[in-house]
Assembly symmetry: C2
Homo-oligomer: 187 residues x 2
DNA sequence: CTAAAACCGGAGATTCTTCCTCCATTTTCG
DNA sequence: CGAAAATGGAGGAAGAATCTCCGGTTTTAG
């Protein structure tokens, strides 16, 4: 493999690249990963053609956004792993990801969607899984989490949570579900 | 108000009316209330124009379908109210409506959607509410249901359930949520 | 400073989907 | 049988989203 000499982007191109990424984060968070790309361009304050020049298609943009999100998520899992108390670690983790998802539709996709050719997201996902499993195992060993709880249950909870968040009912209805969820899984 | 002499429909028209209704039940159950009406016509085996002649617009069709669903739902609530055991009544009710919703997307809409000018659905909904409240109150009084459980929590559970059902994960993931839900709300 | 190269933006062609109507043909019923 | 009622499918209207062309502008290098 030869090191390909990538021609450096012009500085306005670099700036727009960043603007697009930031706008995409916001728009995807609000509308989901299939939001119209025109909305992204409008929020970035640039033309649609520019967006297509920086990111050949939706896939590339989605990958960039999800990679950033994955880092955020991974931080939550690591924090939980290192918490003092096993139950606070676990429950804080669930609360945290519920909050993330309440503010950002893309979180569920991050864990459930299959991103075919995106190695770095797959790698991040593996790290998240590992940290999450540590949180779960520790809580079960400490006797504070029901012993039949498995990693897939986190996804079930996230899917359930999304159902509540996406409905247009009272904006804090999901806190009620959080409470139910924690009551349900505590040993 | 004069009694308006409604001209009787021709027998083929009556038959098609029934075919459309049956098809709409199936299609809406699978795809949601905003499924294309062409799909309904196709499943009914009739032309699109015929559908529009029998039902002027989507609204009328939706109301007809939801009215039928509401009866089904009301039956579940009444059964639960008359069950021998308060907990079995409540838990059986939740399980029943989860099953209904797993097979039929429209159930959530029935309780959450506002159907402006449809008196009979509003009436049915009131009956459902009353029966459901009886089931809840009885279970709380008997000390088998957490005493802060309210009617709106049923909607939270249904919304959560829908989130799981609509995801394209394992088709029985929702049973896991059912288990969590019942564990969470039992006193 | 100047000109080439890179970049920008938005109009608009394209495709897709759903809704709904027109009208020639078929079915029902007295 | 014949008139009235009903049917079905083609196709126009409308809206949403994707992606490209190209005239004009900004950056960069010599």
């Amino acid at each position: 493999m030869l090191a390909d000499a990538v021609k450096p982007l012009r500085k306005d191109a670099v700036r727009n690249h960043a603007l697009i990424l930031a706008a995409a984060q916001e728009v995807f968070a609000e509308q989901g990963l299939d939001a119209p790309l025109e909305d992204v361009a409008r929020r970035a304050g640039i033309g649609i053609a520019t967006l297509y020049r920086r990111f050949p298609g939706r896939q590339e943009l989605v990958e960039a956004v999800l990679t950033a999100k994955a880092h955020e998520y991974l931080t939550a899992a690591c924090d939980a792993m290192h918490a003092d108390d096993p139950w606070l670690g676990f429950s804080g983790y669930i609360e945290k990801i519920f909050e993330l998802q309440a503010a950002d539709q893309t979180i569920t996709d991050l864990l459930t969607l299959s991103l075919p050719k995106c190695a770095n997201i797959i790698a991040l996902r593996a790290q998240i899984s590992a940290a999450q499993q540590a949180v779960i195992s520790r809580a079960i060993t400490a006797g504070v989490l029901r012993d039949d709880f498995v990693a897939d249950d986190v996804i079930v909870l996230l899917l359930a949570h999304r159902g509540v968040v996406q409905s247009n009912g009272p904006p804090d209805a999901w806190r009620r579900l959080l409470r139910f969820s924690l009551d349900a899984v505590r040993a």
